[in-house]
């Protein structure tokens, strides 16, 4: 199974260990993984700021890098979603459509394509899960508190098979952390307040780690935790699933 690895730009630059974990994890489960070297950014930051019209260059570059892969996997729900919803090309409409079809968020890929029911990993710690909005509400990686539907969570199911891991839910389990791309700087006060509420709930559970499928949310929470010198670390889901 040939997989194109899509690593969001800020993960490439600030959290390379998350990309390495994703790569190793996929390889361990039998994928032939390629990381196209000329990839840059999915264009989401521009689009969410109202400049989707300028994302054409990013789209073009994305298509050049990822055309032809059977699957494209990304350890970030929001970047995967952006491609799924907004990748377009007037010149190469078929390629764009194929990519939109074939892109997967990591836990979605593990659950729905690889159909792994569990992972061989060990992480003997108290962990709180941060449910990221785009993964949950738009990629439907878990049920949502607003909807009357059967309860499930792809991430929780996988974490449940990790040796020694003790998982904790927060009281408002699926509330947004306040990152929101440009929102975190244009609405700094609200963003920080939202993040702090999430942290408070995890603190109440006494966890040592906060994990999730979207590094951007975790980066925001990490910034708050570090500034307040709170002894909780953030760790991407891929790192836990890859922990031996």
């Amino acid at each position: 199974m040939k997989v194109g690895l899509f690593i969001p730009c800020y993960v490439d630059q600030f959290y390379p260990q998350v990309a390495v974990a994703t790569l190793e994890l996929l390889e361990r489960y039998g994928c032939e993984v390629h990381y196209p070297l000329k990839q840059t950014c999915c264009g989401q930051p521009m689009a969410n700021s109202g400049f989707a019209s300028m994302a054409g260059g990013c789209d073009k570059n994305f298509i050049a890098n990822f055309s032809g892969y059977e699957y494209i996997v990304c350890p970030s729900g929001s970047c995967a979603l952006h491609i799924k919803e907004h990748l377009h090309s007037a010149e190469e409409p078929n390629e764009a459509a194929a990519i939109r079809e074939r892109i997967y968020e990591l836990t979605e890929f593990i659950t729905d394509v690889l159909k792994l029911e569990g992972v061989k990993a060990s992480f003997p710690h108290k962990v709180g899960l941060h449910v990221s909005c785009h993964g949950q509400r738009m990629l439907h990686l878990s049920s949502m508190s607003e909807k009357v539907e059967k309860s499930f969570s792809k991430a929780e199911a996988l974490l449940g098979t990790v040796d020694g891991l003790e998982l904790f839910r927060t009281s408002r389990a699926d509330e947004c952390c306040g990152f929101g791309g440009t929102f975190c700087v244009t609405e700094e006060a609200v963003s920080v307040s939202m993040g702090n509420t999430r942290i408070k709930e995890h603190l109440a559970n006494g966890v040592h780690y906060i994990t999730g499928g979207d590094m951007s949310c975790l980066m925001h929470l990490e910034g708050l935790l570090k500034r307040q010198k709170i002894d909780i670390k953030v760790i991407h889901l891929a790192e836990i699933l890859n922990a031996q």
């Binding site: 260990q17 990309a19 609200v190 963003s191």
Partner: protein
């Protein structure tokens, strides 16, 4: 790189300065949202009901002209006088002329967001007509000379002590007596007198039924009924979108509305008005005020499905932390942020950005309006129309330029520094809003790309 500071973010930051109060606001509204969840989860067919509500509205919007005309014809048959207003000014003038005709100088009004949207109170007050809002929350904010901060809970931004102080000042209640029963009684005494001595009653409309020519007004206090029954003139003001085709459709909307709004199975009073009672005159003012324009905007027409339950307000973490007044529009919250730019793009260009696009609003909406998607679309429209400012556009161009050209991207020495500088969420300028309360991520020795080249390169 950051957007120019906008009204909403400044007002929100000010609201958050009082940390305790902001937390209380957040928790109070979360409590309402939790009640809504409980009520919704008790109905196994909830999602089907939402679909149905959305489809009925879809159908209605596609035939809006027909249903409005059908409504007008049936209402007239019932002996109701029907007026059409194209904008807020016309609406206010029509109401004023009806009042003038009856020499009405004292008016009682039940809660109506449309009259709020049109600025009716101010307009009538300037013309020496006294208007009293009779919904308790609305009455409180009226005494304080403030607009409502929430479309269902207009005084939700106020705490018991604020109400106590307000009543002490205006109604001479005991200082510091914060007992809700005591305060409510005091308001009730004043309002009862107003009901009896008024010359006319104005109500809003929750649903107007084309088939019957009647309207339904939902309240929890019965104040609309009191006003209408005690007065000779009843003026009902409604936006075009309040129309529904048939009486049986009410069964869908009444079930959805109260549960979504407050978690009640049904509002305490669902009052049906079909014709004036003997000796009374009944008027209905049908108001456009930008609604046909919104109907014409393909990406936003869906917003006219809104039944004003405010569930999207209560669930919105941004609303809960910034308070309704920060939205500087009669309808606040996520749906207000879609409706407001339709009325005035320049003034409201900030509102579609007052969201993380988390999508909770879309999930909670009883008529399935794709709220977060419309907020995203408004951003595109507003920036294309130039409401983001030239500086923003230039810096975006610069950033997309680098990000779309892998060669330049790769050649840039110290990519991490590039990101620190240019990625909007890691903005690192003089003001650096990220760094104000958050540490920056640490910069690793090598990027993943460098690691990959060393360890795995297949190219």
């Amino acid at each position: 790189m950051s957007q120019p500071a906008t009204h909403h973010n400044k007002a929100a930051a000010a609201f958050l300065k009082n940390g305790q109060r902001a937390q209380w606001h957040d928790e109070t509204l979360w409590f309402v949202r939790a009640k809504r969840d409980k009520a919704a989860h008790q109905i196994p067919e909830w999602e089907a009901l939402r679909n149905l509500g959305s489809q009925i509205k879809e159908h209605t919007l596609s035939n809006l002209d027909e249903y409005l005309l059908q409504f007008e014809a049936n209402a007239k048959k019932n002996g109701i006088k029907v007026h059409w207003a194209n904008n807020a000014a016309e609406h206010n003038q029509i109401v004023y002329e009806i009042l003038l005709h009856h020499n009405a100088v004292n008016v009682v009004k039940s809660k109506s967001m449309l009259t709020e949207e049109c600025g009716l109170n101010h307009y009538l007050t300037e013309r020496k007509i006294s208007v009293v809002d009779t919904d308790l929350g609305e009455y409180i904010v009226q005494l304080r000379n403030e607009p409502p901060s929430h479309i269902v809970l207009p005084a939700i931004h106020l705490k018991k002590e604020d109400v106590s102080n307000t009543f002490h000042k205006h109604l001479h209640t005991e200082k510091n007596n914060q007992d809700p029963v005591y305060l409510t009684r005091a308001a009730r005494q004043v309002l009862r007198k107003k009901f009896i001595t008024a010359d006319a009653a104005i109500t809003g409309v929750n649903f107007a039924v084309a088939e019957t020519g009647g309207i339904v007004v939902c309240t929890n206090e019965g104040n609309a009924d009191l006003g209408v029954h005690a007065n000779k003139v009843h003026i009902a003001c409604m936006g075009f979108e309040k129309i529904i085709p048939r009486a049986q459709d009410l069964s869908v909307f009444l079930r959805l509305l109260a549960r979504s709004a407050t978690g009640q199975p049904i509002t305490t009073y669902s009052s049906h008005f079909h014709r004036p009672k003997a000796g009374q005159e009944m008027h209905i003012v049908l108001v456009n005020n930008g609604r046909t324009e919104q109907l014409g905007r393909e990406a936003f027409r869906n917003s006219l499905k809104c039944i004003r339950c405010a569930a999207c307000f209560n669930t919105c973490p941004v609303y809960r932390r910034s308070g309704g007044h920060s939205y500087h529009n009669s309808v606040a919250g996520p749906i207000g942020s879609i409706l407001a730019p339709n009325l005035d793009m320049r003034k409201n260009a900030d509102l579609p950005f007052a969201s993380t696009l988390c999508g909770s609003c879309t999930n909670v909406c009883p008529v399935k309006i794709n709220i977060h998607e419309q907020l995203w679309s408004w951003r595109q429209v507003l920036m294309a129309e130039g409401y983001g400012g030239a500086a923003k556009k230039t810096s975006m161009k610069l950033m997309t330029g680098v990000l779309s050209k892998p060669a330049i991207y790769r050649l840039s020495a110290g990519m991490a520094r590039f990101f620190m500088r240019y990625l909007p969420f890691l903005v690192n300028n003089r003001l650096n809003p990220w760094y104000k309360q958050r540490d920056m991520p640490s910069v690793p020795k090598e990027s993943f790309k460098d690691w990959y080249k060393k360890n795995r390169n297949h190219e």
